[in-house]
């Protein structure tokens, strides 16, 4: 058959013209495809904060490696001595602080300095004191960091366990089964919830007249790291766009794919909007 094809192309003079036409058309198409490919990929990265988000999963969840004693004193506030006050229990503290109402900013008429107000500010002396106390606690108690690591590991293991059961039957055939679909669906919902919880925006800034809507595009890798985050639709309110972008960045890394999802990457598009104002 190939020979017939060759013969047809290289055949008699009457076919020359046709051959040339086919060649011309082919090169034209190739040019068009290559061009469009090059153009779309180069126009595909308008965001300015590229790969820095691909940090280790433990980074946001856990404090940095054990600092030396000197640095503990220098910035004792950073030291996670008790789980309730430190960064790792991020969600818990976030919830707490979100509910906190600004203390009544009552002023005394003697015109005292605003330091009188209730906002808690730590003085350097207190910092040193705190640090010393925390160090004392640490030496007496077990290292909470390893504790937490173990707990986290256990949590992850617990979470994965039930899903691996139903996951294998679909993965083998390569065709998504109903179980796989629901695993995906659940993973998407989880991502939605995480991002919403990390979204902070004062809704009173949105005037009731204008509808604010922004769209963020990003790609989630199997390990939960997030790539290529950018605003694909701006709201017209730069602060609103910033808050949505921060919500995605704050949520990274996302949980890794649960067993059963075999994709190499999952691209997302999220609409952020404010509704039912007033």
């Amino acid at each position: 058959m190939m020979q017939a094809f060759t013969h047809y192309l290289t055949g008699g003079d009457e076919n020359r013209f046709l051959t040339l036409a086919v060649l011309f058309s082919l090169t034209g198409h190739i040019l068009l495809f290559t061009l469009s490919h090059v153009l779309t990929t180069s126009g595909y990265k308008p965001h300015k904060t590229p790969r820095s988000i691909d940090v280790d999963l433990m980074q946001t969840e856990l404090p940095p490696p054990q600092p030396s004693k000197e640095s503990v004193q220098a910035k004792s506030s950073a030291k996670p001595a008790t789980p309730s006050t430190s960064a790792p229990s991020k969600k818990a503290t976030r919830k707490k602080t979100a509910k906190k109402v600004t203390p009544p900013a009552a002023k005394s008429f003697t015109g005292k300095r605003p330091t009188k107000r209730k906002q808690r500010v730590i003085t350097p002396d207190e910092l040193v004191q705190n640090a010393l106390q925390k160090m004392a606690k640490e030496t007496s108690k077990k290292e909470p960091l390893s504790h937490r690591l173990n707990r986290l590991k256990k949590e992850v293991a617990d979470r994965k366990a039930p899903e691996t059961v139903g996951a294998n039957d679909g993965a083998a055939t390569g065709q998504p089964t109903a179980v796989q679909m629901s695993i995906k669906e659940r993973y998407y919902r989880t991502i939605e919830v995480i991002i919403r919880k990390n979204w902070a925006f004062p809704t009173q800034m949105a005037s009731s007249k204008t509808q604010l809507k922004t769209q963020i595009i990003f790609t989630v890798m199997p390990d939960g790291s997030v790539r290529d985050v950018w605003v694909s639709l701006r709201s017209g309110n730069a602060n609103f766009d910033r808050s949505a972008l921060s919500a995605v960045h704050k949520s990274t890394p996302l949980p890794p794919y649960p067993a059963g999802i075999t994709d190499q990457k999952i691209p997302f598009v999220i609409d952020f909007d404010v509704s039912e104002l007033l």
Partner: protein, 450 residues
């Protein structure tokens, strides 16, 4: 001819490769939707400022500066201060400029924005360098050097308020209200009601009038330089005006009628309106600042026609006022171009103290229902009012911040009346001043010196 064949095969292969290798945007993206943010404030980190020389005085100033900045930003209702215990880096030690900031360390603090600063006190001047960073976009939003000449203790507050305004402009695109003031009526235990003023956050309350007679209903001139009010200096209510600083001279505006009350300024700052009884009934008149009557603004409405409390829309084309023409006090709006008057409030039997929002589309007022006054807000085109206070004693005389984000009002929630502030949706209600005696009738000025 083999060559041609090979070329064609190659091109076909290339095409197949290109088609299969088109980038990911061709794939379907998973679509999610997130409606309404979980948190209603932007978390901000304000770590301690760097100080050049570590004198005790400088340390004290730097601490004050951080506290004041935190309080001022929190006061707007837009920001939440992140607990310093979550900070993994101390810019006061490691540096405040962009190359010194490790954004990845700040990510875990929960903050989205970071303010760093350094203060230098040299003799009679204070110099501050400040930066605002977007932690997640990992970039500086501004860097600014602010100077205050004169006593560092006195210049710290204006300097930090200037910084707060710079942050607000960067954050929201609009100026804050950190140059605004609030006037109110205060009655001591043995002294009559007089007018006082304080800063937007309740700072430095000071007595403005010393009339030794009942003085009521302060009204700021649009530029914030003067305050008009009603006072019984001459044993009957007359209207006066005086400069908005203690010890300023008092000038009479009008004493023409038997009662002259509730003055208001037109947005141009030239003309005023007030409720006078010069033709037998209490009606609203347009006046010059010298008290010359230009026009009667509300017509005679029988013996029930009491019209008081005029207030003008920001553009000056409409006037809201309280009238008893329908039997009970209600708020009406008069279109000054065509003279048409429409009733705004229908909910409840007693609605007073209208306050037009600076954005022009909302009206705040005090409405009496179930035995108490409460602050309400409604669209100036009508519709259903939104009640902002509930079950906290009497809440009266609302007034908007210059940017329309906050409302100041008086409340008897702790027994005696005092001044409170809340955001325009009724949340974050807190006491503004704590003075002996009773405070009522707060009014917010425009944003001055900006």
């Amino acid at each position: 001819m083999k060559k041609t064949y090979r070329i064609i095969v190659q091109t076909l292969l290339l095409m197949a490769f290109l088609l299969s290798g088109t980038p990911s945007q061709a794939e379907d993206r998973v679509q999610l939707r997130v409606t309404n943010p979980f948190e209603n404030k932007t978390p901000v980190a304000v770590p301690a400022f760097h100080i050049a020389a570590a004198s005790d005085h400088e340390k004290e100033l730097a601490t004050q500066a951080v506290t004041l900045l935190q309080e001022t930003l929190a006061f707007t209702g837009y920001f939440r201060m992140v607990n310093p215990e979550a900070f993994l880096e101390a810019p006061s030690q490691t540096g405040i400029t962009e190359q010194d900031i490790h954004f990845d360390r700040w990510r875990s603090s929960g903050a989205e924005l970071l303010v760093t600063g350094s203060l230098t006190v040299s003799g009679q001047a204070i110099i501050g360098d400040f930066y605002l960073y977007d932690i997640f976009r990992q970039k500086s939003l501004f860097g600014v050097r602010l100077r205050g000449a004169g006593s560092p203790d006195e210049n710290l507050r204006p300097l930090i308020l200037k910084l707060a305004d710079k942050i607000m402009v960067t954050y929201s695109g609009k100026h804050g209200f950190f140059g605004s003031r609030i006037a109110f009526v205060s009655k001591g235990s043995s002294t009559p009601k007089e007018i006082w003023t304080c800063d937007f956050d309740g700072y430095k309350p000071a007595q403005l009038t010393r009339n030794k007679a009942i003085t009521l209903t302060p009204a700021w001139s649009p530029d914030g330089s003067k305050i008009a009010y009603t006072s019984y200096v001459n044993d009957k209510p007359d209207i006066f005006v005086q400069g908005a600083w203690p010890g300023a001279r008092r000038d009479i505006v009008t004493a023409k009628g038997t009662t002259n009350i509730t003055p208001a300024w037109l947005p141009d700052g030239q003309m005023m309106a007030a409720s006078l009884t010069i033709e037998g009934d209490q009606a609203i008149y347009l006046l010059t600042q010298k008290g010359k009557i230009r026009k009667r603004l509300t017509r005679k409405w029988g013996k029930w026609g009491i019209d008081v409390s005029p207030v003008f829309s920001p553009s000056g084309d409409r006037m809201a006022f309280v009238s008893k023409r329908s039997g009970s006090p209600q708020i009406y709006i008069k279109n000054l171009n065509n003279g048409r008057i429409e009733r705004l409030t229908f909910d409840g039997k007693y609605n007073t103290s209208p306050a037009w929002s600076p954005t022009g589309d909302q009206m705040a007022y005090a409405g009496f229902k179930d035995g108490h006054f409460d602050i309400h807000v409604m669209d100036v085109r009508g519709g259903r009012p939104m009640q902002l206070t509930l079950g906290t004693g009497d809440n009266e005389t609302p007034s908007w911040s210059p940017d329309g984000s906050l409302i100041v009002f008086s409340s008897t929630r702790k027994g005696k009346s005092s001044i409170y502030v809340m955001n325009a949706y009724g949340t974050d209600q807190r006491q503004l001043v704590s003075l002996p005696g009773e405070q009522t009738a707060p009014v917010w000025s425009s944003n001055l010196n900006q």
